[in-house]
Subunit: 257 residues, 2 copies
DNA sequence: ACAATAGTGTCTGTCAGACAATATTGC
DNA sequence: GCAATATTGTCTGACAGACACTATTGT
């Protein structure tokens, strides 16, 4: 009876056509804040942005594309995506999530290449250095609206569209909003983050629902100081606002109950 | 300036290690009904089952595994998965959905093989022929509980576990229950299907919530005959029950509203 | 009559949605 | 005082959750 390695050697001698690569592409989202021009303290304008790179070589030379790179045999796709993310942004240990694979024949002129798409959520402070060298760079943040209107390389337009749908859905059904916020935040900030990702979101009694509705009360909690006093912030307003943090509770949703 | 094909030819001469295949594996779920032994009409027992095949050759010869097969350069992964699904079950045009990729190095002794996992939901009537030749077959339905306790080939245990989590989540947040039900069904049947997939689901006032709660009323509707009379069924009960069908409305859930 | 499922009555406390009103405080 | 945001008051109709109760009909 033959050993495994014999069989493997035997197997690999087959002449099936095999893929020419398995890259991971990453849709890196961030929310940028720009102060409003008012005489009083006010909430900043927040905008959902996505990081694109300008391609240097064939194919699609000069066009903007999602950052990505070929994965290696010795790593998982997630490792590959994380590596790429760190190369582009300099940060690691960031929320990153797989969402789809793209395999339409001919999608990549280099050959049979199935791309694996991740999205990552990065706090804007981590991208501060990037934003300094802004105009002439080959790595830039674009507003999502703008990016959706561009002629991106490969099928990256479709990938971006899918990623956007993902993040919008997850923004409303999970607590990923925390990825764009500091540990302690005000209700106003949270509301803005949700609206930056899902512009159609509107909830008149937001503060009331999230703080005093029994069924939703669990997802955030008041931040208390060491003496049990409630910590507040007046960073964005004259009147100080209560600070909250996300709890560890995982919301469960159902259309049937 | 060189043409694209020149560049492609030039590019493909690179000697990067490339994957040895990109298979699609499919977790095929169905819900089987077995009549209860009662003297009166009664609802059947429903059980969530998954289709497994017994491997014929190296590697993992003799072990049970998820059905799957290598995709080709000329098809998308979805096409490949659909083809495989039809080969195993004889049915097509069935709900099939991508949910993850598996790329841990060494997961497949045949080489560097990234597997793409789909789940499919098949109405039990389509698998009726399979169930005839039951015991000695190399293709069989297992209850999910049983399958989760087996030593499956490759990392198929993890894939199955992920698929189960997916389908449970989607059962409660989307209308995939329709895939396991006839066009017109009773509330009792719907309740059973949900419970077959999510055993912990329990909703005392189920009929009331789903039929008369304003916010949920849209997802199913009464089935009416040609004269506007309400159609009922007494297949499973002495007292006839109103028939319902799913509407086309897509439920939107949010933890913030 | 009875088993098995289908569906309604009723009650209490909570929530949703709308909008007005008040609170706070740097400028 | 004013602007800008934060937070509470108040009201009505709808819903949630619990449980008891009635309805239907083949066997």
């Amino acid at each position: 009876m033959s050993t495994n390695s014999d069989e493997a050697a035997n197997y690999s001698s087959s002449k099936y056509r095999t893929p020419d690569g398995a890259p991971a592409d990453i849709v890196i989202f961030t929310i940028t804040s720009t102060p409003r021009r008012t005489t009083k303290k006010s909430l900043p304008n927040r905008k959902l942005e996505v990081l694109l790179i300008q391609r240097k070589g064939w194919p699609f030379e000069g066009q903007w594309a999602l950052p990505g790179g070929f994965s290696k045999e010795t790593e998982t796709l997630l490792d590959s995506a994380k590596r790429e993310l760190e190369e582009e942004t300099g940060v690691k240990d960031i929320h990153i999530e797989y969402f789809n694979a793209y395999s339409t024949p001919g999608r990549d002129p280099r050959g049979w290449i199935i791309s694996h798409a991740y999205f990552a959520l990065v706090h804007e402070q981590y991208l501060a250095s990037r934003r300094a060298d802004d105009d002439a760079a080959d790595v830039r943040l674009f507003s999502v609206d703008e990016a959706m209107g561009m002629d991106l390389a490969f099928d990256h337009h479709a990938i971006l569209a899918d990623a956007l749908q993902q993040i919008q859905s997850k923004m409303l059904t999970t607590t990923i909003a925390r990825q764009f916020l500091p540990e302690a935040f005000t209700i106003g900030e949270l509301y803005q983050v949700i609206q930056a990702v899902v512009p159609s979101f509107e909830e008149r009694n937001f503060i009331r629902k999230i703080t005093s509705t029994q069924s939703r009360k669990g997802i955030i909690e008041e931040v208390l100081g060491r003496n049990g006093e409630r910590l507040q912030s007046n960073q964005y307003s004259q009147r100080a606002a209560q600070l909250y943090r996300f709890t560890d509770s995982v919301p469960r949703l159902s259309i049937y109950s």
